[in-house]
Amino acid sequence: MNSSSRRHLVAGGLSILLGLSTIMPAVAQDMIRFGTALSLTGNLATEGKLVREGYDFFVKTVNERGGIDVAGKKYKVEIVYYDDESNVNTSVKLYEKLISEDKVKFLLGPYGSGITIAVSNLTEQHKLPLVIAHGAASTIYNRGYKYIFGVLNSIDDYTYNMVKMASEQKLTRLALLNENQLFAQLGIDGAARQAKELGVEVVYKEKYSSGTKDLSPELEKMKAAKPDMIIAGGYTNDMILLARQISQVGLKPKLLGYLLGPTLPGFVKSLGADAELTLEPVQWSINVPYKDQFFDWTARGYADAFQKVYGHVPDYHPIQSTAALQVYYNAFQKVGGFDPQKVRDAIAATDIVTAYGPIRFNDKGQNIAKSMSVVQIQDGKPAVVYPADVAETKLKLNP
């Protein structure tokens, strides 16, 4: 044939191949597919990596055992991942892709509360279940949605323990400061409410603009209010500055707590002595006394098995991811099938114990069976100090 028609043939062939490659197979007969968008690049990429490790660890564990046994047949699992770069619009777009193009019916939440709210609008409209492992804002769960379920404690629980610690330690003057963004604002507002309930006086409560380079005005105002405990919320960038400036300004609270920060890599390294004795509420620690009813793990057992695969001890991110998949695991077995509506109903009736903790949802989709603990940085390492039944060591106050 001549060169022109050969070219056409090649072009035609390539187009067909290209077309075929974009069609994902419908749910394969012996494969269960989950889908999620993660922050694999972007400014939350470090957390995103931990999140993914937790999901992958579940997949590996289950597939090594031959798959999930549903109604007598074994199904292997796989997860379709997309990177949303922590961007709301991108994330929603990618979930639409998962649902409409990749035909995934079982979705896992993205990372971050704002993104989760937007994504949940989509999944709710599609009437598909969304199990959330990394979105704690209460505003996700108070909209009366029927298809969203969060395995983690929501934001109100973040601060409750710390405020309780204050009242137990007879600290009566609480100062609150947060970055002006969703998660931190909700957290600190919650702390203020809880302080009122527990009889601790809030002597200072303000928010600061993201990216502020000098928090001394806020801290001077705070110092004038003579707090004996400070709880602050924001992202890591600001928390490092805050920790430095608190000591520079001469504030010496008996207890200093952050919504997040101390357990992320870089915090202790960057701050050295200024990080000592800071508190952080954690969703999970290696000491929680739960034994997984599916995989024979204790919390420590999970951590050991995880470390063998990924070379580092997991913080709460990976196991949260794993727990989300365990919710589906349990639901599939209870239903004996994969009808999304039935799976959704089974998830709503979840009542299980995992190495992450017990999971039971209220009618808003929040996990009300689990509680959080509080760690304190002692000698540069986080140690659980509260509540008493899981504490590794005693709480130390600043002199």
């Binding site: 690049t41 709301v88 639409e96 409409s100 709210i117 609008n121 409209q125 505003t139």
Partner: protein, 331 residues
């Protein structure tokens, strides 16, 4: 008279350019109207996004492309539109009145600050509009009683299935896009538009020849604000959740700026072309070059600037004589 003679007269009369563009726009609209059944919801969403950005880019084009004033902070109108509409919907208003609640404050703001800020030029005007955006954004983030503050606003889900909601959003943006094309044709071909372009080439000379520069600039900004605000309102309904950092994000304006420049400043279809180019490039880079997509996009933009200084349409015009003869761009 024969059809071809009629066509010839139509194609060469005084309104030829506008009619031609309107015809192209009509064909585009027709295609857009019939597309939905052929697209999965994902592609529909992508297309809706392209249209939304094309509208915002047209708003930028109105100020920066036609009048020559780079309103980098134009996203402030997007945010005002989003919040106004969201609050109105939450209060029970229907969609159309809710859009008005978003659009009217935006237009009013443009008219109110216009006289003050439009005295600045170039980079100064740009940073002033960014400042305006920052101030309004801070108000949205701090007046929590009204706007929900940093926690944002959630809208109740729209009625119907996911497909219904997607189509409503799509056709809303198609209609808005049509309006943006009409605005483009108006700015390109009307006397008002001549005034704009006169200001862009030489404002002092325009003033001297009797163009009421402040009035023209203010009206152009108001129109730009209206368009952008309605886009914001539709967006709020579409996504169902807004927060200050999302809808007052400077990156939206800057992206829109890049889009209309690459597509062709001061043209009717430039924003759409730019939007298609950037969105396809972004989606492609995302799917295939995960860790490098920002790099690829950045390099692409740099290359385009180096190789296509007049944007895509300028490139086409310079290199394809037949196309140029048919297109006959107004300079």
């Amino acid at each position: 008279m024969t059809a071809s003679a009629l066509l010839a007269r139509w194609a060469n009369g005084p309104w030829a350019g506008s009619l031609r563009s309107a015809a192209i726009a009509a064909v585009l609209m027709a295609i857009l109207m019939v597309l939905p059944p052929f697209l999965s919801l994902y592609w529909l969403r992508l297309l809706t996004s392209v249209l939304m950005l094309a509208v915002i880019a047209q708003g930028m084009n109105a100020m920066a492309g036609f009048v020559g004033y780079p309103a980098f902070g134009n996203v402030v109108f997007f945010g005002i539109g989003a919040y106004g509409t969201a609050l109105a919907i939450a209060a029970g208003f229907g969609m159309a009145p809710a859009l008005l609640v978003g659009a009217v404050p935006a237009a009013t703001l443009a008219l109110a600050v216009g006289p003050l800020l439009l005295r600045l030029r170039g980079h100064y005007f740009a940073i002033a509009t960014l400042g305006l955006n920052e101030v309004v954004s801070a108000l949205a983030a701090n007046l929590s009683g009204l706007t929900g503050g940093a926690a944002g606003l959630s809208l109740p889900l729209g009625a119907g299935t996911a497909s219904d909601a997607a189509q409503r959003a799509y056709f809303g943006f198609v209609a808005l896009f049509a309006a943006s094309l009409a605005l483009g044709i108006f700015l390109r071909d009307s006397r008002f538009g001549y005034g704009c372009r006169a200001i862009r080439s030489n404002e002092e000379a325009a003033e001297a020849t009797g163009v009421a520069t402040l009035r023209v600039k203010s009206i152009a900004w108001m129109l730009s604000a209206l368009l952008t605000a309605v886009a914001g309102g539709l967006y709020a309904r579409w996504v169902g959740f807004i927060e200050p950092s999302l809808v007052f994000d400077m990156a939206i304006s800057v992206k829109a700026f890049v889009m209309f420049l690459l597509g062709g400043a001061g043209t009717v279809f430039g924003p759409l072309i730019g939007s298609l180019l950037i969105e396809s490039a972004t989606t492609l880079a995302w799917s295939h070059l995960l860790k490098l997509h920002l790099l690829v996009l950045g390099v692409t933009i740099m290359l385009v600037v180096l190789v296509l200084p007049d944007g895509a349409q300028g490139f086409v015009a310079r290199h394809w004589p037949t196309v140029r003869a048919w297109w006959r761009p107004r300079s």
